[in-house]
């Protein structure tokens, strides 16, 4: 089961600040609901987890993230995440995101194209939910990203001068900043995020079973 999503989200921060977050894989990953980077294996490879914990349901995806491209000039990040959970599902997302200036100096637009693929139980029981669920997840990602970018504004130290990176090959250099110095991206307003995550994941799990159980709890 595969779907492509093209999205545009407003960001409540200037393009430079937003780029500071976007090019930082850890910071960007942290904006994905329930996602976390657990380990960096080399310049472009990371290990991470995505956890959706909802009512009775827990889906823990462990997997790899590879940064395929980080284009300073185009303000574009291209990364692929692949993972599997223990109950027999796997999922992957090929994400290309770049930033465009907006009308005002202190806002910009996050433009994303994601190709989401799911296999196993997820695809068998929940394929029809893929689009709406991905929509919600990306929507939350955008909110968190915007919040992170806004927060980053107050931390000019971590924003490298573009000049240094202008000639950067598409090959990513996220390790230019050692993990220890990475900005700790503030989470989006916790209650809100949690509520969404709960409702969302509950939706996912219950929805997988839609069409599966012609009966009632």
């Amino acid at each position: 089961m595969e779907v492509s999503l093209d999205k545009r989200y407003p960001v409540a921060a200037g393009i430079e600040q937003a780029w500071a977050v976007l090019k930082d894989v850890r910071a960007t990953a942290a904006c994905m609901p329930g996602a976390a980077i657990t380990e960096q294996t080399d310049d472009t490879h990371y290990k991470g987890t995505v956890k959706s914990k909802v009512g009775p349901s827990t889906l823990l995806f462990g997997g790899d993230i590879e940064v395929l491209g980080l284009d300073e000039a185009a303000r574009e990040l291209h990364m692929v995440g692949k993972g599997a959970d223990k109950s027999g599902s796997s999922a992957s997302m090929d994400l290309t995101a770049h930033l465009e200036p907006a009308e005002t100096q202190d806002t910009c637009t996050l433009v994303g194209r994601a190709v989401v693929k799911v296999n196993g139980k997820l695809a068998q029981f929940g394929s029809r939910l893929l689009v709406p669920v991905s929509d919600v997840m990306l929507g939350q990602f955008a909110d968190n990203f915007s919040a992170a970018a806004a927060a980053a504004m107050t931390r000019p130290a971590v924003v490298e001068a573009p000049a240094q990176q202008v000639d950067a090959a598409p090959q990513a250099q996220p390790s230019a900043v050692p993990p220890s110095q990475q900005i700790d991206t503030p989470p989006a307003p916790a209650p809100a995020k949690e509520l969404n995550a709960l409702a969302l994941a509950w939706a996912v799990f219950k929805s997988w079973l839609r069409g599966l159980f012609g009966s009632r709890a």
Binding site: M1, E2, N119, G120, K121, A123, Q124, S127
Partner: protein, 804 residues
Amino acid sequence: MNAPTDPALQERTAALQGMGDSRLRKEDARFIQGKGNYVDDIKLPGMLHMDIVRSPLAHARIKRIDKSEALKVPGVIAVLTAEDLKPIKLHWMPTLAGDVAAVLADGKVHFQMQEVAVVIAEDRYAAADGVEAVQVEYEELEAVIDPYATLAPDAPVIREDLAGKTTGAHGAREHHNHIFTWEAGDKSAADAAFGVAPVTVAARIHYPRVHPCPLETCGCVASFDPVRGELTTYMTSQAPHVVRTVVSMLSGVPESKVRIISPDIGGGFGNKVGVYPGYVCAIVASIVLGKPVKWIEDRIENISTTAFARDYHMDGELAATPDGKITALRVNVIADHGAFDACADPTKFPAGLFHICSGSYDIPAAYACVKGVYTNKAPGGVAYRCSFRVTEAVYLIERMVDILANRLGLDKAEIRRRNLIRKEQFPYASPFGFEYDSGDYHTALAKVLDAVDYKGLRAEQAAKRADPNCPTLMGIGLVTFTEVVGAGPSKMCDILGIGMFDSCEIRVHPTGAAIARMGTITQGQGHQTTYAQIIATELGIPSEVIQVEEGDTSTAPYGLGTYGSRSTPVAGAAIAMAARKIHAKARKIAAHLLEVGEDDLDWEIDRFKVKGDDARFKTMKDICWAAYNNTPAGVEPGLEAVHYYDPPNFTYPFGVYLCVLDIDRGTGETHVRRFLALDDCGVRINPMIIEGQVHGGLTEGYAVAMGQQMPFDAQGNLLGNTLMDYFLPTAVETPHWETDYTVTPSPHHPLGAKGVAESPHVGSIPTFTAAVVDAFEHLGVTNMTMPHTSYRVWQQLKECGAAL
């Protein structure tokens, strides 16, 4: 059976409950009291439970399997992977089709939910916990789902284990995903006929992948006795003796020390013919651990991995004269066999008996070519309640005949009348080399058309079509099919080199009670009831005292099992022949007791009488007793016989089915208003059971035609593998069935019987499609692909501008 008129004789005949009697079923007593003995009911001391770790991906490399967490789960005893099976060379196993199949994935998975590892634990709960704890790392590969795309030059290689193999079990392989190409008929004759034909029609007919889905899933209990070195396995198998042979070959345990017991089976329908990885792993686990190991599939595993059916993509062509006389048939098939060629067909027939596809029609020239291909789907290709690939064949020819009728503006009954093989042409040599044994197709057709007032129905349909405000579309489907069953003559048919005979052994005891054992195995067909009826009539002893036993390879004679409607045609014949051997000996004993010559005796129902002297006779009961204490000189005591029957030919049951349905133009829902099934299965042994078999076959046919499907997405995920989505109709959806019959005995079968259980499945499916398509015919539609769900039918309504 010419029934006697004398009341006394009638009474004695009735007392036997023999051939033709609607005898109530002997097996029911245990089933209605919950005392059936199905495989999951079997509990052995110290028995362990096995569960299977399966791949979420359809095509992937296995990078790593980590058992450690699973082994920590309380109650888990062992976890086996391909690496554990390698030393004993059991990580791959041979298939019935001459291919090999992975028992546990060997570095690569080829279809979704393929077996990757097994967990053996103290109970099924711990086993399930263990399965969840096994960590497997995969590297996803591009999956190939489309059977045409799989033959593209650059298509991913599905079977790396076959690299460099340019020939398979059935000849040359022309592509890395190609299995075989099989031809039948006379291509040049067919091509010539098409060359000069004034009328030709062509169509691509897809018969989608479906699953037999018996209510009981597959399973086994393997029990190896390390002291005696004996392996006993209780197994849901339609062919226990063949399985024993395979198990012996695989395990190295001598066949004499392998015992396969098929207990009560909760429906088979072809799903339980094959040998599955679960069986092999349970057996290995039992041998390794020295304890009984039970494996029971769950429903999702059953639908997803064990033995699908059909998946034939057929390009059919008919050549004809302007007045509708068919002159030639050509058909080219792409057969999607999934990741391993595990079709259950006679060895020499990789496409089964698909070449019955000239059907009930007198077609001078015909040619068929079937190409088998690999895709990233589960293996199978079994005969789902039909003889090998006969359902596909009948579907093809019946669709093509309707399409030709449409082209010529001929009525569907009329075009059949013009092409059906005539009574006097039997035995009829088909263009594919079959010799149809007997038939009277025109009589059967006329009987059905009269019964439903066919003319009246067509008039009603015309009136409805003329009314633009009519909320429904009315369709009439008519099918005149011929099956080929009873595989089969060993000169043509074998499995693993073993001829497809079947067997019977009868022992009659002093009191006149008998035990009979066969190589077949009932899955609901009522063998214990009907087989006894055959013996009762042949030997004149009551059915009630005849015990029929099957399914235990240690007690039953070797037989090929029950599938492809072969029990009555093959085992039924073996029973009659064995009984006749006993009958001949009984005559000797009777002559001895009555002190007359054998030729001075007449047989009458249950006794030998001295010609012309009704007072002097010996009943079979008398003779049975004498057989153990007073046999003539030179005649050994006892009264038993064995017969292995190798049929001289297949049998060819036929039928005429008619369906009337109405389609709701608003929702696309179909309502079957009437369905009449006329079957001719030759001589009828138990009419009650025959009618029951027909009801069941029609209902399965309805399910296949109207709802069953196994949809895959581009990555090879099977969508809809539970009973929520996989269509098994309830009593509410199932139509009311009308049945009728004619009797045209098989000339070569000792009883004249042909077999019936599968005709209604084979015959009804094209009838439903014909009816649905017929409803749209005036709108220019000539074919539609199953299943005819409300959704698909509505799409057709919309396309034709007929949706409300």
